[in-house]
């Protein structure tokens, strides 16, 4: 049992905006004061800021692709922050592709207590869960890659919507995932013949009728019909390409009326015709986005400096390799998806990078409703998650932002609108984009708030005048009722749990999948689904049909 007294609480989900309140914790949950016995430990949070633990709606922290990246960049790992073995804290490395244990220490050390691994192939999901288990201190969810799965595409081609729904449902449970991820719908499938899908309404390589728009609409419908807690999580077509804002807006039209989450919107909001004319189109994307109230998005903001780009978007990564001439990793996964990895440096003297940097911040500032846009860097694509406090600082301080813009090349300043934006985030808005909003979008009802019954995931920051940077150094972090971080240092290591979804599914669908599987895959069908026993701390969510 634990009391947190005298803190200034920001709990936007419950309408609490900077009130001095006491919190009571028992059995890992927030409880009523009456449930606490005398003599329970008390944290005196007087003068401090109390918020629900951060929730990362889109990150890449585990799985075949990230582990591939770790092996690809030992030179980055050597330069990374070291984590020394100490007590129950394991050795590891920080940096751009942190080791699993270090990932937990870094997230919790910053006050984040839930993360969503955004790209899991079913074929290697068993591996992803092994890694997720080795990330301590945070709870986890994971999304299953679907938009280039040939079983699903073949059914869409045949017009068998209902069977497609059962197959998707079966695959989510087979992977022990939490929801549906769609990456460059149709484009990754085309990449398997070295092609891409650039227009939403043209049939994709190898299919007569299936278009990216059909896949997007189909998966969004399925996610809605299955009542998944998190809607389809969409990485739009034409990521990173100048002029792609039109594709993004067209995608929103395709999605009209459906729930959907648009991932790393920054990478999808560019104007211009080529790399020399590229400019920000954040205003038009923000306007279209605001007009579609069933959508949420995360920023995918870019920070200057080193990054490693990791995405299932294979064709884009081939282009990036040709542009950079640096290392390139590619891993196509049979029947399901692909993945590409290119180490990258965002430079403030580079026109394209400067526009990217501005677009991420512009979207966060132009989209008025903080409940719909969330803080991410698409870690490690736009920058590392442990640099979130830098972004928060810029969101909270317009003057500081303008100083940064002044450092950019003149050419870049003409193509962005960041300097004209006066909005400054309040602490309550920061709590929404880092915790309450993403928790609501993920459908995690016990996360992102501090009401009675919520998981006791609480971050307590010291109050300082330069509000932005305080987020890098919490005074206390409480995870499931345990005080895991004090003064920015990990004090106790607890395991997180994994939330997995079991959507409604006609069990007979297995008889349909099995013969297809045996034809195209290279392992035994019995070895394909991840056994529930593999997950060491699962919490199964069953959506109401």
């Amino acid at each position: 049992m634990l009391r947190v007294t005298g803190g200034t609480v920001y709990d936007p989900a419950n309408g609490v905006d900077g009130l001095v309140q006491d919190l009571y914790i028992a059995n890992g949950r927030i409880v009523d004061a009456s449930a606490i016995a005398d003599g329970a430990r008390t944290i005196d949070a007087t003068g401090m800021i109390v918020m629900p633990g951060g929730v990362d709606v889109h990150t890449h922290v585990a799985g075949g692709a990230l582990n591939f990246a770790r092996g690809l960049v030992p030179e980055n790992q050597r330069a990374a922050r070291k984590f020394l073995h100490r007590g129950d804290r394991r050795a590891g490395l920080g940096g751009m592709t942190p080791t699993t244990f270090a990932t937990g220490y870094l997230y919790a050390g910053m006050g984040w207590t839930t993360v969503n691994e955004a790209a899991v192939p079913v074929l290697s999901a068993r591996h992803t869960h092994e890694e997720l288990h080795d990330i301590p201190l945070v709870d986890k969810t994971s999304l299953v890659l679907m938009a280039n799965n040939e079983f699903v595409l073949d059914l869409l081609e045949a017009g068998e919507a209902e069977r497609a729904r059962h197959v998707v449902s079966w695959l989510v449970w087979a992977a022990k995932g939490y929801g549906i991820k769609a990456v460059n719908p149709g484009g990754v499938e085309a990449w398997k013949w070295g092609k891409n899908a650039n227009t939403l309404h043209a049939p994709i390589e190898g299919y007569k009728t299936v278009t990216p728009a059909m896949i997007i609409e189909g998966l969004a419908t399925i996610a809605d019909d299955l009542q998944l807690p998190h809607p389809v999580h969409l990485h739009c077509n034409n990521l990173g390409v100048p002029g792609n804002f039109a594709t993004t807006i067209e995608t929103m039209n395709v999605l009209q009326g459906h729930r959907a989450h648009l991932a790393h919107l920054q990478f999808h909001a560019y104007g211009g015709d080529d790399w020399t004319t590229m400019r920000s189109e954040s205003a038009r994307v923000a306007e279209a986005f605001t007009a579609n109230p069933t959508l949420t998005a995360d920023a995918g903001a870019v920070l200057f400096g080193d990054a490693v780009t990791i995405t299932a978007d294979g064709p884009w990564q081939h282009l990036l390799y040709q542009l950079t001439g640096r290392k390139w990793g590619n891993l196509d996964v049979e029947n399901e998806t692909g993945c590409g990895i290119v180490p990258y440096v965002y430079k403030d003297r580079n026109l394209v990078n400067a526009v990217q940097w501005a677009v991420g911040l512009e979207l966060l500032l132009l989209i008025d409703d903080p409940w719909r846009i969330f803080l991410t860097t698409d870690h490690p694509n736009g920058g590392c998650f442990w640099r979130y406090p830098e972004i928060i600082h810029m969101l909270m301080n317009a003057e500081f932002r303008r100083e940064q813009v002044q450092q950019l090349p003149e050419k870049a300043r003409q193509r962005i609108v960041l300097a004209d934006l006066d909005r400054e985030y309040t602490l309550s808005e920061v709590a929404i984009i880092t915790s309450a909003g993403p928790a609501r979008s993920l459908g995690l009802s016990r996360k992102g708030h501090l009401g009675v019954g919520a998981d006791a995931d609480i971050t307590i920051y010291p109050s300082r005048p330069d509000h932005g940077f305080l987020f890098s150094y919490p005074r206390y972090v409480i995870k499931g009722g345990a005080i895991v971080v004090e003064e920015g240092d990990v004090r106790e290591v607890v395991d997180g749990k994994e939330f997995i979804v079991r959507p409604a599914c006609d069990e007979r669908i297995e008889d349909y999948i099995r013969p297809l599987f045996e034809k195209v895959y290279t392992m035994s069908f019995a070895n394909y689904p991840v056994e529930i026993e593999r997950l060491r701390n699962p919490e199964v969510v069953v959506p109401e049909p």
């Binding site: 585990a62 075949g64 582990n67 591939f68 770790r70 092996g71 690809l72 030992p74 790992q77 050597r78 990374a80 070291k82 984590f83 020394l84 073995h85 100490r86 394991r90 050795a91 590891g92 490395l93 940096g95 592709t97 942190p98 080791t99 699993t100 244990f101 074929l123 290697s124 068993r126 591996h127 092994e130 890694e131 080795d134 040939e150 398997k192 013949w193 070295g194 081939h318 390799y321 040709q322 001439g325 640096r326 290392k327 390139w328 990793g329 590619n330 891993l331 196509d332 996964v333 049979e334 029947n335 990895i341 034809k519 195209v520 895959y521 290279t522 392992m523 070895n527 056994e531 593999r534």
Partner: protein, 318 residues
């Protein structure tokens, strides 16, 4: 430069119409490779099976694998780097010196024919073995093949894959990467992971005699390491966990018999394409699993008092 362009084995089965094996003898070393993944299966987009595929073998001698190949390129020993680099040049239509190419044992015309076929392929793949990675040039040879593969993607779909073997070596590599950030040759003596092949890799530690104890799991270095390394293992306290008697267990101080993973112990094995397969034991074993033994050793070590001397004793010594 560099990187790795690869795929899972099912992609090869379903799509590959042009297959190169380089510096390996899959017919004898990976006997199911042809029939499960690469040559004979009817793939989703290669419905003709073997007839729909062309196989090239590159090696220094005519092994039994050559019988399976449509084209056999016999190259001179130690010339893998030169051949791969010539192919890279021809792919990019760069001039090459026929006299230098002749030193590899092949002609420019022969290699140009291969390049033309590679470019005509819908989906090409190069599997490279230890004849590439463990001969003169070592990682430079692998690097040349990886670069060739990456550059081929400007023309058509091309991937490559190292032909890994030795039980679950891929699994060890995968787990080390997520726990330490590095695939092998990791040193934890400073309390955090450091990586330096040549310095911290097993063979180098043993040959130099740097380590003063060894715990060996799922490997038989006594059969494969250079003699000075084997001599060192015999000199120091070596502990072996193995279901059976091996060259290493014979020279070890302690041999703990363990259950056979996959037969009488459960576990996970990674294929060469890093896809994990669950192992379900068919039998029960009277012996403990490797995992159980390691866990018990770890707990026993953790229960011991810290090895650092107490301050008072240090004073006394001073």
């Amino acid at each position: 430069m560099g990187g790795k362009i690869t795929c899972t084995l099912g992609e090869v089965k379903n799509r590959a119409d042009f297959i190169i094996y380089w510096g390996g003898n899959p017919a004898e070393c990976h006997p199911r490779h042809f029939s499960k993944y690469t040559l004979t299966p009817k793939g989703k987009f290669v419905p003709e099976g073997r007839k729909g595929r062309t196989m090239v073998l590159v090696d220094i001698r005519e092994t039994p694998s050559a019988k399976a190949a449509d084209i056999f390129l016999q190259i001179r020993p130690g010339k893998d780097f030169e051949v791969a680099t010539t192919l890279r040049a021809l792919v990019k239509k760069q001039p090459v010196d026929p006299a230098l190419v002749a030193e590899t044992g092949l002609s420019v015309e022969r290699l140009q024919d291969i390049v033309d076929r590679m470019k005509r392929a819908r989906f090409g793949v190069i599997f490279f073995g230890m004849g590439v990675s463990m001969t003169r040039g070592k990682h430079m040879n692998s690097g040349a093949i990886l670069s060739l593969t990456a550059e081929m993607n400007a023309f058509t779909k091309f991937v490559c894959m190292p032909m890994r073997g030795h039980g679950n070596v891929t699994g060890a590599d995968v787990v080390l990467r997520w726990t330490t950030g590095y695939p092998f040759g990791v040193d934890l003596s400073r309390g955090y992971p450091r990586f330096n092949p040549g310095e911290f890799s097993t063979v180098d530690l043993l040959v130099r005699g740097d380590n003063d104890a060894a715990l060996i799991l799922g490997a038989d270095p006594g059969a494969t390491m250079p003699q000075p390394g084997i001599d060192h293992l015999a000199r120091i306290p070596t502990i072996v966990l193995d279901p059976k008697v091996t060259h290493t267990s014979r020279l070890a101080r302690v041999h703990i018999t363990t259950a056979v993973t996959g037969v009488s112990a459960p576990g996970t094995s990674y294929r060469m394409d890093e896809i994990p397969l669950p192992l379900r034991p068919a039998l029960k074993s009277p012996y403990p699993t490797d995992e159980e033994v390691i866990r018990r050793i770890r707990h026993a070590v953790a229960a011991k008092p810290a090895w650092t001397p107490a301050p008072s004793r240090m004073m006394a010594i001073a």
